[in-house]
């Protein structure tokens, strides 16, 4: 839990606090070259919402990879102290700055309201640390469009690309089991930050839990909309970066307690 002096990474960012499975490695996909203007034209009605808290080392790269596919990016700078907001702005994202730190769920809600103001048809939630692949987000939006689906959840357990540790897998699976019992959904991965949400579903969401388990709250509220949803296989990239941030298991305990005591 302690910040060590030789660790250059901010220990207090969302991903270390809420989940801890993250990354910033170059993924093997040549994304920038595979797009065409046709898609970016289509995606002009999509806003990518990125809650941002102390991710200065990776945020620029994440935004640079997203921009060719998704021209509209809203970064919610949740009171970062490491200049993440300015970096995101210069990388080409719109930055909305919370005057004080409110938590990841609150940052998502701010992003939802901002996207709603800008008449977004689809919102993509994306983690600031680069654990998600842009290609996954792109196919998820395409799937929502072509199949008329209101909510697409990313799941790392639908194929075998993602390799979480055994203990982590047990905890995540338990979390999803409790979530499925307490909500009306059938999911395989409840705490995945990559989601696509259509405007009619978005209008029915109001995240209240500032600090923790908004992953659950969002599922609960989306489940109540009774709108069509699917899970889509995505890859979550675990690297040394995530291990440097650590404390994922302690946070998993938090997730479980928040799930049970609601």
């Amino acid at each position: 839990m302690k910040h060590t002096d030789n660790n250059p990474l901010p220990t207090n960012s969302y991903t270390s606090r809420s989940r801890g499975d993250e990354v910033c490695k170059n993924r093997g996909m040549p994304l920038a070259s595979s797009r065409d203007s046709h898609h970016s034209q289509i995606n002009s009605d999509v806003w990518v919402v990125i809650p941002l808290y102390n991710e200065a080392s990776v945020i620029s790269e994440v935004i640079r990879e997203l921009l060719p596919i998704f021209p509209n990016i809203a970064c919610i700078d949740d009171g970062s102290q490491d200049g993440s907001g300015a970096l995101a702005r210069s990388a080409g994202a719109r930055v909305i700055t919370h005057p004080i730190n409110l938590g990841q769920g609150a940052a998502l809600q701010t992003g939802f309201e901002y996207a709603h103001e800008h008449k977004a048809r689809y919102v993509v939630t994306f983690d600031a640390d680069g654990q998600h692949r842009v290609a996954d987000a792109k196919t998820m939006v395409e799937r929502a469009r072509t199949d008329g689906i209101a909510i697409v959840f990313g799941s790392r357990f639908l194929d075998d690309r993602t390799k979480p540790g055994l203990l982590k897998k047990i905890v995540l699976k338990t979390a999803v089991w409790v979530t499925n019992i307490t909500t009306r959904t059938r999911l395989t991965d409840a705490h995945n930050g990559l989601r696509v949400i259509r405007d009619d579903a978005l209008a029915q969401i109001k995240l209240r839990q500032d600090r923790m388990a908004h992953g659950t709250e969002i599922v609960v509220q989306l489940g109540k909309t009774k709108l069509p949803y699917v899970e889509h296989p995505v890859e979550v990239l675990y690297t040394d970066y995530s291990k440097a941030k650590g404390q994922s298991l302690l946070n998993s305990i938090n997730i479980l307690v928040d799930l049970i005591i609601r």
Partner: protein, 117 residues
């Protein structure tokens, strides 16, 4: 006897402070009635400690002081829960306020940028 006088004075003074109107707080008649009942009960208990012991024995507790201790613990817990809930409500308001500030700032920023163009 001296200590009893002191205690009664303290109970009355503290209760007076508690029921005084504060800015932003609603003064509820029920709350004030309860405070008055509390003062009466406290004064009786201070003047006639044997009464407290009788009540305690009625409930199957050894001594009046034990009854007082249990009551104190319960009151403390209730107090803590009320404070935590009040703080959560106030936090939710702060969140809404901060979000509104952030969104207004973003709107201003965008207006300025579109005017520059």
């Amino acid at each position: 006897m001296l200590f009893q006088v002191l205690l009664i004075a303290l109970v009355i003074i503290i209760t007076l402070f508690a029921v005084r109107s504060l800015p932003g707080e609603k003064s509820l008649a029920i709350k004030r009635l309860l405070a008055m009942l509390f003062v009466v009960a406290a004064v009786i208990a201070i003047l006639f400690p044997q009464l407290l012991s009788m009540v305690a024995r009625f409930f199957g507790i050894g001594r009046g002081t034990d009854l007082l201790l249990y009551g104190f613990i319960i009151a403390g817990l209730v107090f803590a829960v009320l404070i935590i809930r009040a703080k959560a409500r106030s936090d939710a308001r702060v969140t809404d306020l901060a979000r509104e500030v952030a969104l207004i700032e973003a709107r201003l920023d965008e207006r300025l940028r579109s005017e520059e163009r």
